[in-house]
Symmetry: C2
Subunit: 361 residues, 2 copies
C-alpha cells in the first residue's frame, strides 16, 4: 500500500492507495466508534456498497443514495441532504463518508463543510479523476447555472481511501476523462512525468496494476505538495491556481453544454489543448510542445476541440465568470515550457482570440 | 474611539466602536480600491444607507437590498444573492459589506464564506445584539426548517465597524433583545459585570452614550478573547460553547414560533432564565442567583417564560436537534455560579424535566 500525507498542520491527513481497500478495516480506523453516514450514487451503490457496508458494519439506513450525474451537484440537492442529516439527528461528532467520483466528493464535502458549520468527512474516491485530483485538497462545491463550482468551501477530509479495484468498473469514457487530469500534472509541473506518460499511456488505459498505482501515487504526491503550499488558492495567484490548467476554457465548455454532455475531464482535455495552443501563439512554448500535448490527449481518446455551436464571443462571455478573474481582468493558466505553467493576465489578447477562433472554426 | 482586536493570527481583525463611524472614511481604509458590494435590508437602507454610500462613494447598483426579518436568513435567499453577485461578475478580490443586524450579518457572512469558495467581508452591525455578539467571531449561517443556524460556516470578517449612532434608530423591542446578550456575558463569565449591569441597566436602556460605549466595548473584549481561544467551537466543548448560554432552550422557542414571533434575544432571555432555574434545581447555584438573573432580565423588559402552547415533550424534541448534541446526549450550558458557566451532559435529567414543566405551566 502507498500512503502519502497532505501536510496541513493540525488538519494533515493521509491518502491511502492500494487495491482491495474497501474490504479492509484498517484504513477506516480513524472512524473509531463515531456515528457515520455514507453518501453515494445509485451506480456505485450497486457496484461497491455491499462490500463497504460489510467492512464498516454500516446499516442500510445510514446510506444516502442519490441519482448519478453532475446535475446532482446542486444547491437543491445539498438542501435535500441537509434535510436527511437533520432528520437522522446527525450530530457534530459524526463523520460523513463519500463513496464516488468528483460529483459525490464535491457535493458530500460541501454538505460536510456547512452542516452545523462543519463536520468531519472521509473521501472514498472511485474514479481515476477523483483519485488523482478532486478527492485531495479540500475543494468542495456545487454548481450554479451561471458557472461551475461557483458556490463552495475549503474543507479538508480526515482521510482519503483510494481503492484501485474500483477503477475496474469505470466506464471507459470516465477512465479517459481521469487520464486528462493525469496528463495535466505532467504538463503543468513535471516534464519527466509527461514523457513517462507518453511511454506508458497504453498500459494506464489498460489499467496495468503497477502502472496505475504508480500514476495515482505520483499525482497525489504532486497535489499534496501543491495543496500544502497554498491551501486556499491565494487570490493573488498562488501555486494552487496552476492546477486549473485547461479549466477556464473547460468550464466555459461545461457551462455551454449544461454540465451534461461533456465530462469534466473531457472539457479540461480540450481546455489544455487550447491553453497550449495559446501559449505557442504567444511564443512562450515551441509549437512542438503544443503538438505533443494535443497528441497525447488525442491518443487517450479525449476531445481536442470544443463542441459545435460555440463562438469566440460565447467563449469569452462564459470565461468572464471564471473565479480567476481579478480586477476585471481575465487570468489564464498558460505554459512557459513543458512542465512550467504560470497564472497570468499579462498576455496579448490577440493570441487568445486566435486560439478561440481556431478552436471553434 | 475604542478599538479591540480579535487575535486570530493571519486572520486577526479590528473591531472599531464609536459614534459617527458611518460618516468616517478612516475605518474603511482596509477596503483600499477593491471592488465592493453592500448587503442591507429595506429598513436600514432608508435609515443609514445614504450616509454610508456618501462615505464610500458607493453607487446604487452596488447595493443589494432585501426585505427585513429572520425569514430572509434562508437557503433560498442565499441562492438569490449568489445569483446577484454572479450577475455583477463580482470576483474573488471583491469585498462584501454587510450593514444590518444579526440576520444581515449572518446571511451576508454565509454568502461571503461560500461565494467562489470564500471572499472577504466587512461587518457593519447596526443593532445592539449584533454589535455585542453576532458580528464578532465569524459564525455565519442560514436557518433550516428543522433548526436555526443549522447550515453555516466559520468565516471571519476583515473588520467590524460598530457605529453607536445606529442604535438610536432601533425599535425599543430590538434594543431590549440586545440587552439579553449583554446580560449573558455577565451571567456566563463575569460576575462583576453582571453586578455593574444591575446598577446601570436603566442608563443602558436609555442609551446613555458613555454607558453604552462601555458596555459594547466590554462585551466585544470578552467575545474576542473567547473566540481567539476557541475559534471553531471545538466539538468536545471548548470555551466558545459557553456563549450559547440560554440558546438551546431559546432555539427551541424560536423553532416552535417559526422564527417570526420572538426575537432571538427574547428567546435567549427566556432560555437563560430556564438555564439558571435548572442550575438552581441541580443545586449548582443558590436560588438567589437564579432570582437575580430572572429579575435583571425582567427589568430589561424581556420575557421570562416560553410562549403558550409549548409542552415539555415539544421542548425536548426541538432541543434534540441542537448542535451541542454529542453521542446522542443533550448537552446544556448551565451555571456553576454567577459568572461561571459550564457545558455539560452530566446533569440529573429530572432537574431539566422540572424546569421545563415549571416553565410551560
Amino acid at each position: 500500500m502507498t500512503q502519502c500525507t497532505v501536510q496541513l498542520g493540525d488538519r494533515a491527513y493521509p491518502i491511502e492507495i492500494a487495491a482491495g481497500l474497501l474490504g479492509q478495516t484498517a484504513c477506516f480506523d480513524v472512524l473509531a466508534d463515531r456515528p457515520r453516514l455514507l453518501l453515494t450514487d445509485q451506480n456505485l451503490a450497486r457496484l461497491h456498497l455491499p462490500r463497504l457496508q460489510a467492512t464498516l458494519s454500516l446499516p442500510d439506513d445510514s446510506c444516502l443514495i442519490i441519482p448519478p450525474g453532475e446535475l446532482q451537484k446542486s444547491w437543491d440537492q445539498a438542501e435535500r441532504l441537509f434535510d436527511a442529516l437533520l432528520a437522522r439527528r446527525f450530530a457534530r461528532d459524526g463523520v460523513l463518508l463519500t463513496l464516488g467520483g468528483g460529483v459525490i466528493g464535491d457535493l458530500g464535502g460541501f454538505v460536510a463543510a456547512l452542516y452545523q458549520r462543519g463536520i468531519d468527512f472521509l473521501q472514498i474516491p472511485t474514479t481515476l479523476l477523483a483519485q488523482v485530483d478532486s478527492s485531495v485538497g479540500g475543494k468542495t462545491a456545487v454548481n450554479h447555472p451561471r458557472g461551475k463550482n461557483m458556490i463552495g468551501a475549503f474543507h479538508q477530509p480526515i482521510a482519503v481511501v483510494a481503492d484501485l479495484d474500483t477503477l475496474k468498473t469505470l466506464p471507459p469514457r470516465e477512465l479517459r476523462a481521469g487520464v486528462a487530469e493525469v496528463i495535466k500534472y505532467g504538463l503543468l509541473g513535471d516534464a519527466a512525468f509527461f514523457a513517462w506518460l507518453e511511454t506508458h499511456l497504453d498500459a494506464l488505459l489498460a489499467l496495468d496494476p503497477a502502472i496505475t498505482a504508480q500514476t495515482i501515487a505520483h499525482c497525489c504526491q504532486m497535489k499534496a505538495r501543491i495543496v500544502a503550499e497554498d491551501e486556499r488558492e491565494a487570490v493573488g495567484g498562488g501555486v494552487r491556481a496552476l492546477l486549473n490548467l485547461g479549466h477556464t476554457f473547460g468550464h466555459a465548455i461545461e457551462t455551454f453544454t449544461g454540465y451534461t454532455e461533456w465530462l469534466h475531464g473531457e472539457a479540461v482535455a480540450t481546455g489544455m489543448v487550447m491553453a497550449a495552443d495559446c501559449s505557442a501563439r504567444l511564443g512562450w512554448i515551441t509549437p512542438d510542445i503544443a503538438t505533443r500535448a494535443r497528441d497525447l490527449i488525442a491518443r487517450a481518446g479525449l476531445p481536442v476541440k470544443p463542441p459545435a455551436g460555440m463562438t469566440v464571443e460565447g467563449f469569452k462571455d462564459l470565461m468572464g465568470h471564471d473565479k480567476k478573474v481579478a480586477k476585471g481582468q481575465l487570468r489564464l493558466v498558460l505554459l512557459r515550457g513543458l512542465g512550467a505553467a504560470v497564472l497570468t493576465a499579462d498576455f496579448d489578447p490577440a493570441a487568445l482570440d486566435a486560439t478561440l477562433a481556431a478552436a471553434v472554426a
